[in-house]
């Protein structure tokens, strides 16, 4: 506001050329405000640690965490890589499996009746409860974690995709029938594009859940050694009362989660922004 006023005062033509601020002001604020809030919170954290002289094995200050982050990078980076790998591979498998089974399920009501209860049972059973069992049947812990994360991420993708495939505009279906479209053509040219928004919802939910499941399953499965992920490093740091390292690992997990969220949101935007309501800015 103040910029606009000063623009009028200076050259008397506020409409002539919109300043940098009025063009990008909103975007800048959208970045600045959350950053400022975050910085404030970290500041309060540091202040509490300094004022109350909290011992670092209970609550380390942000500076100490930062130090641990760099010092323990050698230990934490491979663990981060393992967790990332498990998350993305399981998400990939869940995408293929979820979309594939959704497509098969909507082909016939009998297939849906046969498969749906099984997918629900897999979904509602707490994953931590199955993890030890899976561990027995799989050759390595990695594969067990992969299966756990897959099971968790799979369901939202399946149910969203199935919902999307069933929610196609009936008149468009009629239109395809009228033009003699084959089942395959209807799937490729109508049902899959029409269920894109639903798929993207499934992807965003599944992406977040895959990471959570990868961590929770590792807690339950209790991996160790070179192939262990961030969850193991979290537990290990706790046992050794190396709380700064625990915070550093936590920080990494948070960053990974944010990155996955940003990536899935970006993919969603990429595919939907040209036509779907959810990606449009309301203009009136």
């Amino acid at each position: 506001m103040s910029d606009k006023v000063s623009a009028i005062e200076h050259d008397g033509s506020a409409y002539a050329r919109p300043g940098f601020w009025s063009r990008h002001g909103e975007t800048i604020l959208k970045i600045l405000i959350p950053a400022a809030v975050l910085a404030l919170l970290v500041g309060i954290w540091q202040a509490i640690v300094v004022i109350y002289q909290t011992p670092h094995y209970i609550l380390p200050g942000p500076l100490l965490v930062l130090e641990a982050f760099f010092e323990d990078w050698g230990t934490l980076a491979p663990a981060l890589w393992v967790t990332t790998k498990i998350t993305f591979i399981s998400l990939g498998l869940a995408l293929v499996g979820g979309v594939g089974i959704a497509v098969i399920m909507v082909q016939s009501r009998w297939i849906e009746t046969a498969l749906y209860p099984i997918t629900v049972i897999l979904q509602v059973t707490p994953i931590v409860a199955i993890a030890p069992l899976i561990l027995i049947y799989t050759p390595t812990t990695q594969i067990a974690l992969l299966i756990c994360a897959f099971l968790v991420a799979f369901f939202p993708i399946l149910s969203n995709m199935a919902q999307g495939l069933k929610s196609v505009d009936h008149n468009l279906l009629n239109l395809f029938e009228l033009y003699g479209a084959s089942r395959w053509q209807t799937l490729i040219h109508l049902k899959l594009p029409a269920s894109m928004p639903y798929f993207m919802t499934g992807l965003r939910i599944g992406g977040g859940l895959a990471l959570i499941a990868a961590v929770v399953a590792e807690f339950a499965a209790g991996s160790a050694g070179a192939g262990s992920g961030l969850a193991f490093r979290l537990l290990e740091s706790q046992y050794r009362l190396n709380i700064p390292r625990l915070f550093a690992a936590l920080f990494m997990l948070a960053c990974l989660g944010v990155a996955i969220f940003a990536l899935t949101s970006f993919i969603s935007w990429l595919f939907l922004h040209r036509w779907h309501e959810s990606s449009l800015k309301r203009e009136n």
């Binding site: 468009l172 239109l175 033009y179 040209r274 309501e277």
Partner: protein
């Protein structure tokens, strides 16, 4: 399309023992109160609905397994029914794509049809960027791109404002003259049917049947002058009278 006869009865009595013959080149309006089954009749002609009894006869030689002449029918729905993820071009291209024709081979054909409906500058626009009337034009362009012999329209302009509707009516009339296509046009508007068609079929409800069926041949060219002519007003009065009769016959609850 020389002699299309369809005789059917429907268990739920949406339509009861209705017969109708549409001749080639006619512009037939199916007019009636809501619930008289005029949309149902149209869907049955397109073989989009099941028939309890009766059959539809086509003069055409190539009849598909579904019971409709392959590629000779197009349908314009009440809503534009466009694919929101495809451009105007992509939407009009759809019927040809489903026939396996390559995009490069039919580009000129599509642009030509877009020019006919006045949307040549909007080929790359997405449906959400268009007004209601423009979306309907895309829908009409898509229906015409296969060069069908029979165009079925199910209250296509009911949701549009009066001015847009009149312009689209003129467009449809022009296209009908230019292409010699047969049109079956479902509407609930007396004025629309009187303006457009050269034959009006009035339907009654409970059970859905043909109540009245008459030709509406006019000496005048149907344009803005026709809209204010006595001939048009007389036609409207005639259609309105027939519609009142149909409503009365069904119990007059409307």
């Amino acid at each position: 399309m020389e002699h299309v006869t369809k005789i059917f009865s429907n268990g739920t009595v949406a339509l009861n023992d209705m017969s109708l013959t549409v001749r080639q080149g006619e512009f037939v309006s199916l007019l009636g109160p809501s619930g008289c089954g005029k949309s149902t009749a149209l869907r049955i002609i397109a073989a989009l609905g099941d028939v309890t009894r009766g059959a539809i006869d086509w003069p055409s030689s190539r009849i598909s397994a579904k019971g409709r002449p392959e590629g000779d029918i197009s349908f314009v729905f009440q809503e534009p029914t466009l694919m929101p993820w495809a451009t105007v071009f992509g939407n009009v291209y759809l019927p040809l794509k489903l026939r396996g024709q390559s995009q490069s081979g039919v580009r000129d054909q599509i642009m030509e049809i877009l020019r006919t409906v006045g949307l040549q500058d909007f080929a790359n626009a997405y449906p959400r960027e268009l007004s209601g009337g423009m979306k309907m034009r895309v829908s009409i362009a898509r229906a015409l791109v296969t060069k069908p012999k029979l165009l079925l329209m199910d209250e296509p302009f009911a949701a549009l404002d009066e001015i847009t509707r009149q312009r689209l009516n003129d467009d449809v009339l022009r296209l009908w003259h230019e292409t010699g296509i047969t049109v079956v046009f479902v509407t609930h508007s007396v004025f629309e049917s009187a303006y457009l068609s050269n034959r009006i079929v009035v339907m009654r409800a409970r059970p859905g049947q043909v109540f009245d069926d008459f030709a509406l041949d006019t000496s005048q060219i149907r344009d803005e002058d026709y809209r204010s002519s006595d001939e048009y007003h007389q036609a409207c009065a005639k259609v309105s009278h027939a519609l009142q009769g149909a409503i009365h016959a069904a119990g007059g609850e409307h």
